[in-house]
Symmetry: C2
Subunit: 460 residues, 2 copies
């Protein structure tokens, strides 16, 4: 048998021309989004003031399995896709594992992460609808960077609300968004009612994604020609990110491979949902039975310690309610948490799949062990991973070590969502021995759960 190459990169014409909508094959659907004013299931048209129309339709569509990727989106994809599927030969050798370790690398574009896949789609649909501006929030900064890039390409203005702790810890993230022409504001800010309210209650807050979302939504609904976009959690985002998994599955087919274990880091779920999509389809349809693992930070453990409940997507409680694993929109991860993956909830699709047992396992990792894995990987595989991605690396290494113990030659696939060039302060902290782990106490979690909404007849 020919040796499997280190990297498989599909030819341009092999790039998928459709996204895959996982919901079309789910026998049991995620619970409907609720209108935050009436607590009734929301209708598509009610989303139009917040989201652009095409995206609202994608958000609500549970039946269409495949959506054509419009040609202008494919045109941008072709500048950085298909992305490589890599075999981690050096890591395998170092671990002396019989396992085969593959990773899908999504960091090979300026945004440095997979976030660009959905940013391009969202900016394009906004442009197509004749909108002139978008707003969004960003935490670690990958989403804001990706969207700034996509908006620059399509000629749309972008307002980014950046979680204050990241804004001060990562000045260069701000610079790169500004390089692409975006306006960046630290959140909470005094430029919105939501921001002012939070600042008056907690003047020293370092901010949260939920709060930044509130500000971005408020700005969008109060600005003509402007809409709000979100880089994770939403169904539409998982749809766009399915290109990761679709490419990955096609490349593995060319190699005669199929994963036994699929691993993804999980914050809001955009990467995990995209990576597993076609493999989960196989599981839902009974064609195969890969084992899926979601890896989240111990400091923000929505799947492993959260509740499966209806919650707001934002702190300001103006967005639709989604049923998902959540720590409560009032939960704020400890400030010593370095990377992204800091959202209080989890994609409703992934939450449902986890609740129903299709997403097999969720695992919470402490950041010092995650950085151990990141540095080992960087030294062996010539890619400096983002801290988010390193959660998946940690898990892949642990699974490969298990294979060494049992002698099983499993095929492990994980998502390497992005690069860590903007996370050097966290790497420096680790190298200087200053990095600490933070596991929320039961009391911390209870404070978050106390912020869950009470919905008469549904959630008391």
């Amino acid at each position: 048998m020919t040796k499997i190459p280190h990297r498989i990169i599909l030819a341009e014409e092999q790039m998928p021309k459709q996204w895959y909508n996982l919901r079309a094959d789910m026998k049991s659907q995620p619970d409907p989004l609720l209108n935050p004013a009436t607590f009734q299931p929301i209708r598509t048209a009610e989303l139009y003031p917040i989201f652009c129309e095409k995206l609202a339709e994608q958000e609500m569509d549970c039946t269409t399995a495949y959506f054509d990727i419009p040609e202008p989106i494919q045109e941008v994809y072709r500048a950085y896709r298909p992305s490589p599927l890599c075999r981690a030969y050096a890591l395998e050798k170092h671990l002396k594992t019989p396992a085969k370790i593959y990773f899908k690398f999504e960091g090979g574009n300026t945004s440095g992460s997979h976030k660009l896949n959905s940013a391009v789609a969202q900016a394009y649909y906004a442009k197509e609808q004749g909108l002139t501006a978008l707003t969004t929030e960003t935490g670690a900064g990958q989403w804001g960077t990706a969207l700034a890039e996509a908006c620059a390409y399509f000629g749309i203005h972008l307002d980014v609300f950046m979680v204050k702790s990241s804004y001060s810890q990562k000045p260069y993230r701000k610079t790169i968004m500004q390089t692409f022409g975006a306006t960046v504001t630290a959140s909470p800010s005094d430029t919105t009612k939501a921001g002012r309210t939070i600042l008056s209650e907690k003047p020293d807050t370092t901010g949260s994604l939920g709060c930044a979302i509130s500000e971005a939504v408020e700005r969008a609904v109060s600005t003509p020609g402007c809409r709000y976009v979100l880089g994770s959690v939403l169904n539409q985002v998982l749809l766009h990110q399915s290109i990761i998994g679709l490419e990955c599955k096609k490349a593995m087919e060319l190699l005669g491979e199929y994963p036994d274990i699929v691993i993804g880091c999980a914050g809001g779920g955009s990467n995990l949902g995209g990576l597993i999509a076609p493999f989960m389809q196989d599981k839902l349809l009974g064609r195969a039975n890969p084992y899926f693992i979601a890896v989240e930070p111990a400091s923000c453990p929505s799947l492993t310690r959260g509740r499966y409940a209806y919650d707001f997507c934002d702190t300001g409680k103006v967005t639709p309610l989604a049923r998902m694993y959540t720590l409560g929109s009032g939960f704020i991860p400890s400030p010593n948490h370095a990377g992204g993956l800091r959202y209080h909830g989890m994609s409703p699709i992934l939450s449902k799949l986890y609740h129903d047992g299709y997403l097999d396992e969720a695992r919470a990792e402490e950041q010092s062990k995650v950085f151990d894995a990141a540095i080992l990987f960087a030294k062996l595989e010539t890619i400096l991973p983002a801290p988010e991605s390193a959660h998946a690396i940690r898990c892949a290494i642990d699974e490969a070590i298990k294979c060494k113990e049992t002698g099983e030659a499993k095929t492990i696939l994980f998502g390497l969502t992005g690069t860590g060039y903007f996370d050097m302060a966290a790497y420096a902290s680790y190298l200087e021995g200053k990095m600490t782990d933070s596991i929320p106490s039961d009391q911390d979690l209870q404070a978050g759960f106390d912020s869950l909404p009470k919905i008469p007849g549904i959630q008391e």
Copy 2:
């Protein structure tokens, strides 16, 4: 005709298995290196205290056209090579040019630049010789990062002397080298005699590459099992970097393309020499006549305003002398110069080719215009370029605009050597309108020329 894809990435088995040595096809050879003590042409064995043996042999070999790439080096290359050859469709469209613009992108590895190609080779040969440590210098930090990565892979210790101005302006560059286990010292330092001498003469100096080289060489020759390595200028480096051009030429052949113009940024010449190597071979052998342009910063204009003379490679005057275009080893670029490309001399091979008219043109660009080009490119092509690489972008854009004016559909190829993730301070300075240009006065240049060595009978 089928549309040319956005990116061509050769298959792993198409990756070149030999490097190409340009000197083998040069009818007129670069002048010999001179021993700094005797001013006599140096013999290979005299280089062994500084360089490891295989590299010293490669340095001196003017006749072997092709060198096999050892399998362990190929193994590392395969983790990030072949690198993509990209068609800048979006840039062409924006410029409304009939020209076809191609670029070879070398930033898709952790070091973020082409420097890894030679770093891997140099670390491997050191390991093979049984050495335990290497020293080097770094300016902007790309070379230090690449070498730290290569040394981590092969298990060799690395001491990096980093130009003081970069050390303080780019703390994260230091961190990434430390992440790979390197020791990083700001140069000039008090840890070497060369450093102490310079500090006593100029206590406030921001350092220079020439000074950092002196310190690194001194450390290497005074430490058992340790040698010095250099990331540019040297013949061996151009040899290793020929893989860029070899891949590029093969990919263009598959497309039925051949460049009319080949453009590379030039500091010490490693990227330019590697990119043009096989195309220059065509020119030397009369098979084709592409037009070559070297682009250098106006603040460090060795080709456009330097002298073709024998000079030391370092400020401490301990290295062999090379005949090259040089500003004098005492020349220090203005501190407001943001990127790399700050070496006082130019590769002896490229210097000779320029002197003899084979390298057709050298062009000096001011950094504000370079950053204009960088940001336009980033917005259109989804890659944030390093300031160094943006010199080539500036030139490619200008040549494409000329084509628009003349109506010529030229094929333009340029080298995109790396990414700008560690240059965000410079981008911020540009965005805030704080970036200034610095063109050395004739007096500044004269001060550099005054440092040129006097060599009885050769250079009085």
